[in-house]
Symmetry: C2
């Protein structure tokens, strides 16, 4: 992605929520570090310290963990203009309890915890932006929990595809199954009975 | 609860996170409305518009929904110094998809959506406080989702009791079961086999 396009992607994203002057945005943007990753590459590994959150410019990430029986659970996908990290570890300064890696090649903007907090202190509108963003994440997480408790796999699959149709092409079916908390076979059976 | 105690409870809660001058806190506090509820009384009913969030002074609340088969799912308990609402409805200005009611008699401080947003605009430290609070809620919600996907009922029951030992006395066992997503009988069988 060209430098101008990188900057514009973040600017468009922020300006949907709050207003920064050009000078303020340049200052804000100067705290982000551009990073490129290859498909399959790890961004956050369980057990490591977490000091950054990531804004997705291109590609698709997954945050996941693998339990004692080696079953994978996917907590979240992250597509362009989404944010990803292990927020529990990031905010609490503890070791990661989940992994984040790349489903496809990906371009990211990395922001450290210290820089986010500094920017929030210095620019009230940036604090507003991050409050808004966490509100959205919180609500999505509550909705997912409710759906997980109440709905069957078929319903949740259709809900997911209706909400994020782009996942259908970007994400292999075994990962969709791991997001829904079922095996690839169970998911297939629903659609090729 | 005495007026002085009400004010002190909120002040102590806020001051754990941010600093407001006495004048700022008085202004902040003036936007809250004190409310008393009886055990079993409804605070938010599914299908109604939601315009407030609630800070718990005393007592215990539950947020829940009941599915088509009349099975109750508990999304969250709220004990003293916790906050509760249907945040999805509150932020999106839509109708409630969950209910909130009182497990015990309860005293609450009610803050409207408009007043929260006004206070956040006017006082940067208040914006910081609410960002911090939502971050905590988001992380708790993600942890609960992970635990729901990965752990069995016995583990989740013990995790809940270790995290919030006060629930054991405040909340009837059938509600604990509804929080864990199982029947009262299943929960009993684990502890009286």
């Amino acid at each position: 992605m060209q430098p101008t396009a990188i900057k514009e992607t973040l600017k468009t994203h922020i300006s949907k929520v709050t207003t920064l002057t050009d000078e303020q945005f340049d200052y804000f943007f100067s705290h982000f570090q551009y990073q490129q990753y290859k498909k399959g590459q790890s961004i956050i590994a369980e057990g490591s310290m977490v000091n950054c959150e990531y804004f997705v410019l291109s590609g698709c990430l997954k945050s996941f963990f693998i339990n004692d029986e080696l079953k994978m659970f996917i907590l979240q996908f992250a597509m362009p203009t989404w944010w990803a990290s292990d927020y529990n570890a990031l905010y609490a300064h503890t070791k990661a309890t989940v992994n984040v890696d790349c489903i496809t090649d990906a371009e990211l903007l990395c922001l450290t915890n210290e820089d986010r907090e500094k920017l929030c202190r210095e620019l009230h509108n940036v604090e507003y932006f991050f409050r808004w963003r966490t509100n959205k994440g919180y609500v999505a997480s509550q909705k997912r929990l409710l759906s997980f408790m109440n709905n069957n796999v078929k319903y949740r699959y259709e809900e997911l595809m209706a909400l994020y149709p782009q996942l259908y092409n970007m994400v292999p079916k075994n990962l969709i199954a791991a997001y829904l908390g079922v095996s690839r076979e169970t998911l297939s059976r629903l659609y090729n009975p």
